[in-house]
């Protein structure tokens, strides 16, 4: 019976920003080598303002600024993007179990990326351009294929239909990815990267690209938050109240594909992030997308940063693929959501 304000207010932004910043700092301090917070701040100051690096922190400075910082930034942005894409998809399809990984969109994007690398598809002047464009295109084509198949089989897009098709499609694309990798050999990163994901070795360029995608496509999704509310009640409801159903669906699906495509080309398939975080966020802020989507971005960033931290320190110095952590938590969450949604009927 609690009252919920319509939008995401200043207070909420402030709270979520502070939490995210705190998680960010923890994730930069802790790792294979723990770095004192004072050294982190000093290194950040030096990196931003320039100046002589004291010999005492030279080693930590290198680890922090060259390796860890770009990685944590990338992780945060990828987490935010995946979570936003998942939240948008769950609203659009009125299904809390919809997500890039459950629908097979991420595997589709991986296939695109792998083909681009194996066949040397490149866009002159853009380092990862070819891979990214192919990943986005394949993500979008996968979405179209999966959804049109699902609509054909069952117009209400019930959970079991979506998941069944998602599973089959993922298996299909995985087999193709394996095939391409077998033939391409050295050029393509190993299969674990594409199936489990990793943000090891991320660069500032990666972060910049991810940030740009989030700004453009994330922004587009956020602008459609009101429409997504209507969709979350039902597509009929959206049409009845006057939503331009076709256009909105297209804009949201393209934006989702773009976000997932960029995420996959940077970090491989990181499963279940878009499933777990919007769901948990919804339990806190409610289903109104004007609140849910911005909040999900913050919680997605936090969730993935912490998962990445776990991946880095659990078997230190071994660096686990990040998807090992997210999929482990995600599958448990999936069962919990599926169970409670079934029980409610």
């Amino acid at each position: 019976m609690k009252r919920r304000a319509d939008g995401f207010g200043i207070t909420e932004y402030l709270v979520f920003t502070v939490i995210t910043a705190a998680v960010f700092m923890v994730c930069t301090c802790v790792g294979s080598v723990n770095i004192a917070l004072s050294d982190v701040i000093e290194s950040l100051r030096l990196a931003l303002n320039g100046g002589e690096i004291p010999a005492a922190i030279y080693g930590t400075y290198n680890i922090l600024i060259r390796v860890r910082l770009p990685r944590v930034i990338c992780v945060a942005l990828v987490g935010a993007a995946l979570s936003l894409a998942g939240g948008a998809m769950q609203g659009l399809l009125k299904n809390p179990l919809a997500d890039g990984s459950t629908l097979g969109v991420s595997s589709g994007a991986s296939l695109g990326a792998v083909i681009a690398i194996a066949f040397g598809i490149q866009i002159p002047g853009l380092a990862m351009g070819g891979t990214m464009v192919m990943a986005i295109a394949f993500a979008f084509l996968s979405l179209l294929l999966i959804l049109s198949l699902a609509y054909k089989l069952d117009a209400t897009l019930s959970t079991s239909t979506i998941i069944l098709i998602g599973v089959i499609y993922s298996m299909f694309t995985s087999s193709l990815i394996n095939l391409v990798i077998t033939f391409a050999g050295e050029k393509v990163r190993n299969i674990t990267f594409w199936t489990m994901g990793s943000l090891q070795g991320s660069t500032y360029t990666n972060a910049l690209v991810m940030f740009g995608a989030l700004l453009v496509f994330g922004g587009l999704i956020l602008l459609k938050a009101g429409e997504l509310n209507a969709f979350a009640v039902g597509e009929d409801n959206a049409r009845n109240v006057g939503v331009d159903v076709k256009t909105v669906k297209m804009i949201v699906l393209i934006s989702i594909s773009a976000l997932i495509g960029v995420c996959v080309s940077i970090g491989g398939t990181i499963g279940f992030v878009g499933l777990v975080t919007p769901h948990m966020t919804r339990m806190v802020v409610g289903p109104n997308h004007k609140k849910l989507l911005p909040a999900s971005m913050f919680s997605g960033a936090c969730f993935l940063m912490l998962s990445d931290l776990a991946a880095r320190i659990l078997l230190r110095p071994l660096d686990l693929p990040i998807g090992v952590i997210t999929s482990f938590i995600g599958s448990l969450a999936f069962i919990a959501i599926f169970y409670s949604s079934r029980k409610g009927k």
């Binding site: 979350a232 009640v233 039902g234 009929d236 049409r239 009845n240 109240v241 006057g242 919804r282």
Partner: protein, 258 residues
């Protein structure tokens, strides 16, 4: 029915699912003040007509609202004139009743960078809540509502939307008697205001007879009869369409209560 005064005019509507024709060259029109009941046995294509007019499915032919082709109308503009109550009301997430009712104002929400404001919004939402008696439920999650309460929530959303023509697809399906009565009384009340009309698909012939001004009797996608409620709901037509003695059956049913 005259053509010139029509609010809604459906012209040669045909709907196909694959090779199966569910609605077969249907034409009709609705004038202000009318409540058109679409009746007929299962599979007659009644709901499909509502789906087509509300642009939920592909169709051949034309649907005009006051002379404007609905297929070419912008969805927001269409929603200001045309309100639809669909049959399926399963809500996926725990929105509050108030949130769902307020969605009815979507078509009037100011666009980005626009100076307009939805001036009448608050008053209309409040009136809709009052009319449907949803006041005590406003902060409650829609997932906790009974079928009747959920139906009233969507009816309130529809009233807040303030359309001039209502399209209702079996508005009292699965509802208890008390809610059937409430829903029809509410819609009847709504219709009293000038320049409004209702088209509804109804299974219950008694309800159709009690509230309708006009009726369209359908069978297997075709119109069997059309006109005032008295003209259409006569024994010969109903018996032939429903393939049974409707009047005798209804009489038998109601005689139980005497």
């Amino acid at each position: 029915m005259k053509q010139d005064n029509a609010m809604l005019r459906v012209d040669d509507l045909t709907v196909r699912y694959g090779s199966h024709v569910t609605v077969d060259h249907v034409s009709f029109s609705v004038e202000p003040g009318q409540w058109l009941m679409i009746i007929g046995p299962n599979g007659a294509g009644k709901s499909t007509i509502i789906n087509a007019i509300s642009q939920g499915i592909k169709y051949e032919g034309n649907c005009y609202y006051e002379g404007r082709d609905l297929a070419k109308c912008k969805p927001r503009e269409r929603a200001r004139d045309l309100g639809v109550l669909s049959q399926n009301h399963f809500v996926g997430y725990d929105f509050t009743v108030e949130e769902v009712i307020r969605m009815g104002r979507y078509a009037y929400a100011p666009k980005m960078f626009s100076q307009e404001r939805d001036k009448d919004g608050t008053a209309l939402v409040e009136a809709a809540i009052e009319k449907t008696g949803m006041e005590p439920y406003l902060k409650q999650s829609v997932l906790t509502l009974s079928g009747g309460e959920l139906q009233r929530t969507f009816l309130a959303q529809l009233f807040a939307q303030n359309p001039r023509l209502l399209l209702l697809d079996e508005p009292t399906n699965h509802l208890d008697l008390i809610y059937q009565k409430q829903t029809f009384a509410l819609i009847n009340e709504w219709l009293k205001e000038e320049g409004r009309a209702v088209v509804s698909v109804v299974h219950d012939l008694s309800l159709a007879k009690a509230y309708g001004t006009h009726a369209m009797l359908m069978q297997k996608g075709r119109v069997q009869a059309m006109g005032t409620i008295e003209d259409v709901m006569n024994p010969e037509l109903l018996n032939a369409t429903y393939n049974m003695d409707v009047y005798q059956w209804m009489g038998e049913m109601y005689s139980q209560w005497k």
